[in-house]
């Protein structure tokens, strides 16, 4: 129970960081998708079935926080987490030493996928800016270093154990 409350607080604070802290810190120019990065890194280490409700909750909180249509971020995050989780077995086994770089590749792919999905579902094709997408990829990659470190430092909270990396 305590672990679930901690995860809830982490997701809540991640959404505040994404909406309020980073846009203020970088004067609205860059705002890393903290929740997206967190979800990708988490789902790349856990089975989708074990965390899918947390992903829905994360998407829901993000949809609430950005005053958007409910469902857009849920759908996008669930789809990305499903993909990341599916690639988990294929890439992470016996690749522990280079796992961060695989995670980084997932972050880049996930960022592009999230970007396209959100634009498509918001019907905001006029808002497309490739420059912003590049900045988003860079900022998400940088923030992923911190999130990656934090997830592994507190892996007990997120239910990650080394044994889960092995195929049963």
């Amino acid at each position: 129970m305590a672990s679930k409350i901690r995860i809830l607080i982490i997701i809540f604070l991640a959404s505040i960081l994404e909406i309020s802290f980073f846009p203020a810190l970088f004067a609205g120019q860059i705002a890393p998708d903290v929740i997206l990065v967190f979800i990708i890194l988490w789902s790349s280490r856990k089975k989708f079935e074990e965390i899918w409700l947390w992903i829905i909750l994360s998407g829901f909180i993000l949809d609430l926080a950005i005053f958007g249509k409910i469902g857009i971020n849920i759908f996008s995050l669930v789809l990305i987490a499903y993909t990341a989780s599916s690639l988990r077995k294929r890439f992470f086994i016996n690749q522990r030493e280079g796992s961060f770089f695989i995670a980084l590749a997932l972050i880049i792919g996930g960022t592009i996928m999230h970007w396209i999905l959100v634009i498509f579902l918001n019907d905001a094709w006029t808002d497309i800016s490739w420059q912003l997408l590049v900045m988003k990829i860079v900022s998400n990659s940088i923030i992923s270093i911190i999130v990656y470190g934090l997830i592994f430092k507190f892996k007990g909270i997120f239910g990650i154990s080394e044994s889960k990396l092995a195929i049963k």
Partner: protein
């Protein structure tokens, strides 16, 4: 369908996707309002604290990065100060002329508005400068459509969604934003829309109307709660629409929307 696709994982994905896509299509906004109110109420103190902390760190880093430039800046400022003193006398005269022009153009002075000052506590995380979240809401008398300005009556957007303690402000740069405006010099009317990456676009200007580069653009006062005379920006570039029926212009905003800290909502005209 292959058998391994029908796993519980895949079924969950399909189920969630179906529900989400239905929600997006139906968009039952009011249905989730109580939950959103609760979330915003809970998040409000955190948003405010984190936003201020972010700004402080931004300011601090700006100071750190600019220390090396301070000496040069100081010498430059001394030179500029001397120049400015010389120009001051000239400006006094221009101010009188400006006041007269302002009167003629019926620009509304700030003391004619009932303003609600608001702190920005959140921004569009896509970085496209489409909207901001302010710390005032229904309990402060805010309503949808109210204009949002900064000092000196420069329009930045309008309130698009109102909740108990916070509101969403759609900035002029958002592609969904549409405001009736006119040219301060020639009174040519048009519609100002946001166009990402190109700033603001003044469209629907008739070919018989005259607009020129550098002209200031103000609100025309037509439609909704928008008063006349709020400054928006100035014309940067003029062109014709592809069908040659109308003129259009790129308008440079008077302020940088990403630098906003405090804004004022016009609740009513006194």
């Amino acid at each position: 369908m292959p058998k391994n696709l029908l796993t519980s994982k895949f079924i969950k994905l399909i189920l969630v996707s179906t529900i989400c896509l239905t929600l997006i299509l139906v968009n039952p906004k009011n249905f989730f309002n109580p939950v959103r109110e609760l979330f915003l109420f809970t998040a409000y103190p955190f948003q405010k604290t984190f936003y201020i902390a972010g700004q402080m760190m931004n300011n601090f880093s700006s100071v750190i990065f600019s220390i090396g430039d301070y000496k040069k800046e100081n010498e430059k400022l001394i030179r500029e100060n001397n120049e400015l003193l010389a120009k001051l006398a000239n400006l006094e005269d221009q101010k009188r002329e400006n006041d007269e022009l302002r009167r003629q153009l019926e620009l509304l002075p700030r003391d004619k508005y009932e303003l609600e000052s608001s702190l920005i506590i959140g921004q569009d995380q896509r970085g496209s400068g489409s909207w901001v979240i302010i710390d005032k809401g229904e309990s402060d008398g805010l309503k949808e459509g109210m204009p949002v300005i900064v000092y000196d009556g420069i329009l930045v957007g309008k309130v698009s969604e109102v909740y108990e303690k916070s509101s969403k402000v759609l900035l002029l740069s958002d592609s969904a934003s549409s405001i009736n405006v006119s040219d301060i010099g020639t009174s040519a009317r048009g519609i100002l829309t946001g166009e990402y990456g190109l700033g603001l676009i003044l469209g629907m200007v008739e070919q018989t109307d005259m607009i020129k580069v550098g002209d200031d653009i103000i609100t025309s006062g037509l439609g909704g709660l928008m008063p006349r005379g709020l400054l928006v920006g100035n014309i940067e570039q003029i062109s014709n629409t592809s069908d040659k029926l109308f003129q259009q212009a790129v308008v440079r905003p008077k302020i940088k929307y990403s630098d906003l800290n405090v804004v004022f909502v016009i609740k009513k005209i006194k």
